[in-house]
């Protein structure tokens, strides 16, 4: 049997520089499974790439086109496409894994049975950043000012609610600075930062916006170690253009960096050296490549789980959904996969599709040209995040006429 896994990648368009490494990582991991293990439990994975160009319309077309081929799980890879697909995929009973993006409140498995967004949501990330800041400031954020520089789209607006709640809780002042797509010109934004002199700046950026922001921040002499991005503002592409100046820039992360993991040995032996690497093979070890890989890893594990539950390797999307819901990838399993300590342990449940909500802070070392994790994985502020998720998902349930299912596990 074949396991059909579509990859809605975007190797073209304004976000291609980010889309390419992710797509490569995602593809290479499955290639590795096929080449090294002969697939998952004997079933080969068939990766169907479909180019979306980060465009919703094309995303939907890709969905409809690949759906018929027996697609088992979708990684929509854009907040816009995720929102699109949530109702459709739910109707079609195909699981979606929007890993660390998409609709945050989909973490509520009762309302969104088919959508998974572990290991952490934007709201988790926001609270982790605030926690980190609090730690830096010795625990007290009263009277501090934190600015959010965000991509002026659904994606960028996600953390606002949470940050507002957090500012109430901690007594800091929140300053919102939207940046329009594509974000090449951010003079006004950074002049405002210069004038208002916030103590910290956090960023929900994407694409060219990230690197311009980091450059501009350096130009207005904003201290880099007080500038913290979400995990999508944390790739090499974003910091390298700013050169030395980017040194010290921070971001949240939910997986390890670099290629210092046993799996890279296997990848080299079974994939790269056989000339099977996706793309031009220049991306292994980069942040987004690793992220593609971790997404593929969880998908593979979920399928394995599904086979275990249903006792067959002829999977249907619904079975894979069950696999996701029963997913449990702990340290030991990661070790076995050749990815020790690569990411946070994940245990999904019927009610919780959002995972542990852990994130570490990584920091850019411009001299060595590499990211380093500088903290342990920090848990999100569940006290703030959970009620928000509850509220938002229930609002959706009401609007869409969904009766939340009961989860008694």
């Amino acid at each position: 049997a074949e396991l059909v896994v579509p990859a809605l990648s975007y190797r073209t368009g304004p976000y291609a520089p980010n889309g390419i490494p992710f797509a490569d990582g995602y593809a290479d991991y499955f290639t590795l499974l096929n080449e090294r293990d002969g697939g998952i439990e004997g079933a080969k994975v068939k990766l169907v790439e479909c180019e979306t160009g980060y465009n919703t319309q094309r995303g939907v077309e890709c969905y409809e086109a690949t759906k018929g081929q027996g697609a088992l799980v979708y990684q929509p890879l854009s907040t816009g496409i995720t929102y699109q697909l949530i109702p459709k995929a739910t109707e079609d009973e195909i699981p979606i894994h929007s890993m660390g993006y998409g609709r945050t409140s989909a973490a509520n498995g009762k309302v969104f049975p088919g959508v998974f967004n572990f290991p952490g949501t934007y709201w988790d990330a926001a609270s982790i950043i605030v926690k980190h800041i609090a730690e830096q400031e010795g625990g007290d954020l009263k009277g501090k000012k934190i600015a959010l520089v965000y991509h002026n789209s659904a994606y960028g607006k996600e953390p606002i609610r949470t940050l507002e709640e957090l500012s109430k809780k901690h007594g800091f002042e929140l300053m919102l600075l939207p940046v329009d797509h594509p974000g090449q010109e951010q003079k006004a934004t950074w002049l405002q930062v210069r004038r208002e002199r916030p103590d910290y700046v956090t960023m929900w950026g994407w694409g060219v916006m990230n690197q311009v922001a980091i450059k501009e921040a350096a130009s207005v002499r904003f201290p880099m170690d007080k500038f913290i991005g979400v995990w999508w503002s944390a790739s090499e592409n974003d910091v390298i253009p700013a050169g030395e100046e980017a040194d010290g820039y921070k971001a949240v992360a939910f997986h390890g960096v670099g290629d210092d993991y046993p799996i890279y040995g296997d990848l080299k032996a079974h994939v790269y050296d056989k000339g099977q690497a996706a793309g031009d093979g220049s991306n292994p070890g980069t942040v987004l490549y690793n992220r593609g890989m971790v997404a593929a890893m969880w998908a593979a594990e979920a399928m394995r789980k599904a086979m275990e539950i249903h006792g067959t390797n002829e999977l249907t999307p619904a079975m894979v959904r069950d696999g996701y819901e029963a997913l449990d990838v702990d340290e030991a399993r990661l070790e076995a996969l050749g990815l020790p300590g690569f990411t946070v342990p994940v245990k999904v449940s019927c009610a919780n599709h959002g995972g542990p909500g852990l994130g570490a802070i990584q920091q850019w070392d411009a001299k060595a040209k590499e990211w380093k994790l500088i903290t342990d994985y920090i848990p999100a502020d569940r006290e703030v995040v959970d009620p928000l998720i509850q509220e938002d998902s229930m609002a959706y349930a009401k609007e869409a006429g969904i009766t939340p299912r009961a989860c008694n596990m």
Partner: protein
């Protein structure tokens, strides 16, 4: 007050950056009444080519790879070789555009030509990607970058060095181009072509030559703009979207006026920065984009042909 001055300066300099892109539009419009939507992509294409050559990318590597041909044989070229080569590519492009598109669309409605340039934009985008790949390419050709420390320490004013350089270059360009179009034989022919293709043909102006010249110059301007913007934000697809930033500048200054591009750029630059900073907090930020257009629109209501554009001749 200091902050206000700072904002204005930033606005002026940002405006110059827009003007650089707008210049390319003006040139082509002036010479053929073609509203060249591909100008933005031409900036991208020029910058991509330059960056690709400097960084030693092999053109069409992806295709060569698929065909099983060697796909990594280009050396990293030095700047003094890469720039003329890029210019040669742009001239070649101009030739091709004339040969394959313009020649067949003589005497057509402006909107048809406009559409053709959008088609061209697609083609260039696709070819650019095929040729050089779609990853971000840093473009470092030794232009100054970052804030001017001197200004910052001395006056506490934040000025981007790159943009000052851009301002100087833009000024020189504008002066040269104005002289060229106003006082040379070719310049006059350019304007004649814009008015009436057929009549221009009938007096012996070769549309082909004129178009190749103009598109080559526009290619050169695109290269300059592409280099400036590429140095600022890396060379990648988004570069082509700066065209949208240039449009309000264009209508404000007037489609046919080279100095208008600069003046328009300055007004738009300052206007949008002031709006974002002083108005943004009250009505929600990220209003730069539409604000630029609204500023332009307001000017147009007073002068429908832009500040320096040629008057629309309405007679019966």
């Amino acid at each position: 007050m200091l902050f206000f001055i700072e904002t204005v300066i930033s606005g002026l300099l940002a405006g110059v950056m827009y003007a650089l892109v707008a210049l390319g539009f003006v040139l082509i419009f002036k010479a053929s009444e073609i509203f060249n939507f591909a100008q933005g992509v031409m900036c991208l294409f020029a910058a991509l080519t330059l960056a690709g050559l400097i960084l030693g990318y092999t053109p069409f590597a992806e295709i060569l790879h698929v065909l099983g041909l060697p796909a990594a044989w280009m050396p990293e070229l030095p700047l003094w070789l890469a720039i003329p080569l890029t210019m040669a590519v742009m001239v070649g492009l101009a030739l091709l555009i004339e040969r394959l598109i313009l020649r067949h669309l003589v005497n057509q409605e402006p909107i048809i030509l406009f559409m053709a340039t959008i088609g061209l934009a697609y083609v260039l985008e696709g070819v650019g990607d095929l040729m050089w790949g779609s990853d971000v390419k840093p473009l470092d050709i030794g232009l100054p970058s970052g804030a001017s420390d001197w200004m910052l320490d001395r006056f506490d004013i934040y000025v981007e060095k790159l943009e000052v350089a851009a301002a100087v270059i833009a000024t020189v360009l504008v002066i040269l181009l104005t002289l060229f179009s106003q006082y040379t034989r070719i310049g006059r022919a350019l304007r004649a072509v814009a008015d009436d293709h057929q009549a221009a043909l009938s007096v012996g102006i070769s549309l082909r030559t004129i178009w190749v010249i103009v598109w080559s110059i526009a290619g050169f301007v695109a290269l300059v703009a592409g280099v400036m913007w590429g140095a600022k934000s890396g060379v990648q697809f988004s570069l082509s979207l700066i065209a949208l930033k240039a449009l309000p500048v264009l209508i404000l200054g007037g489609f046919t006026s080279i100095p208008g591009a600069i003046v328009g750029g300055l007004i738009i630059g300052v206007g949008e920065k002031l709006a974002e900073i002083y108005l943004g907090p009250f009505i929600g930020g990220a209003l730069e984009n539409w604000f630029a257009y609204v500023v332009a629109l307001l000017f147009l209501l007073v002068r429908p042909q832009g500040l320096f554009g040629e008057r629309l001749i309405e007679r019966v």
